[in-house]
Symmetry: C2
Subunit: 234 residues, 2 copies
């Protein structure tokens, strides 16, 4: 099997969100991630191996500093129609911008059995290579959808499902009864949850600090993990 | 104030652990971190501002892709003599290699009021620029020390302080009584806690996954946060 110059060029273009959006494709690299893609519901368009296309071609299409022996081109799933509340525990991300954080949050959501992750439209692109790497394959297992978060929060509440969020002036999460179902909103790395979303949140939670800590906050992925752990523990 | 070529060269050399070790110095950048250094017990050797030394000199000494307007050269504290158990909740890191993880763990330890963080000698260098950035200033507040972890675990146990560790085959952390004092050991990103250290751990803990998750593990910083949250919550 060989690869044409046009194909190389197309795969290279997938480094940019603009072309990922246009072509509806993204790239995953590494034996483990490619296997996860193949095992998932995602459509794997092409698998390219170093021994087939050669080291030089691999070096041109890779998005990693050290090319992996295998790379797959994967089709993005169709966007859901109007995102709707889902039973069980769900997560909403309001403007999470760092790809490492988003990938780590997907891995955390997977670990804690989150039913769906909803993203505001200014979150970092789900198919950014750093998101995919940091998600360790969880991108292929966790249900995700872009959503208008204020409207989504309202729909959860209309269905009688509680909406939680974490705030630096919220109430001690350890002293609060938490439901098994509902939506947990996490905010942007610097600005937190936007007012328009905060206004739709029923319960403002805080992970308290201890021992007169001088730290001002926790990283958003870390805060997501502590929060979901509180919802899951019994 | 100006800066000499020799000084520029010396500050540039601090990008490498070898020279940080030799000179006993490290660099912090950004208004916030420099202020945290000045407010801390650390000795700030020099503060260099762009308006004083000029843009060109700043671009040569910076360790960031976008130079910050201010950079400080800070003296490393003297290494502790034999690291000893400390009352309260302590953390030990067995071979944490990723600088982002180590910095994030320091921030988490700060948030949860950890008394001391002990590092095996193959952890990533505490004064690596990425560690400092990720710690968000917590490096200046959390007590740290390199330690022989098996010996340290024994010393905690001799003083009647429990030693905990997280393991993928450990027991459900949510169902276990946890002490307010003692040592919590976290392992390397890929290999976990080494056998020689594991042998000295009293209680093997596991953060369980939920909903038939396909995720194999949590990131070590994330697992540290969930674990410390469990120790602190009441």
């Amino acid at each position: 099997m060989s690869i044409t110059q046009a194909e190389i060029k197309q795969i290279r273009s997938l480094r940019e969100k603009k072309f990922r959006d246009e072509l509806g494709l993204f790239v995953v690299e590494g034996e483990k991630l490619v296997q996860e893609a193949l095992d998932s519901d995602f459509e794997v368009v092409r698998v390219l191996r170093r021994e087939q296309i050669g080291e030089a071609a691999m070096a041109r299409i890779t998005q990693l500093s050290t090319p992996s022996p295998v790379l797959a081109v994967v089709a993005r799933p169709q966007a859901l129609a109007a995102p709707a509340p889902v039973r069980g525990l769900c997560l909403a991300l309001d403007g999470v911008r760092d790809p490492g954080n988003l990938g780590t949050i997907l891995r955390i959501a997977d670990w804690f059995g989150v039913q769906a992750v909803f993203l505001s439209d200014d979150c970092v692109d789900l198919y950014n290579p750093k998101v995919i790497q940091a998600s360790m394959g969880s991108l292929f297992r966790v249900r995700t959808s872009t959503a208008d978060l204020p409207a989504l929060c309202r729909r959860f509440r209309e269905e009688g499902l509680p909406v939680y969020g974490t705030f630096l002036d919220g109430k001690d999460i350890y002293r609060r009864e938490l439901s098994r179902e509902g939506l947990v909103v996490m905010g942007n790395e610097a600005a937190g949850i936007r007012p328009a979303v905060a206004a739709e949140v029923d319960a403002h939670l805080l992970i308290p600090s201890f021992g007169g800590s001088g730290a001002e906050s926790l990283n958003v992925a870390v805060a997501t993990a502590v929060t979901l752990s509180e919802f899951r523990r019994r």
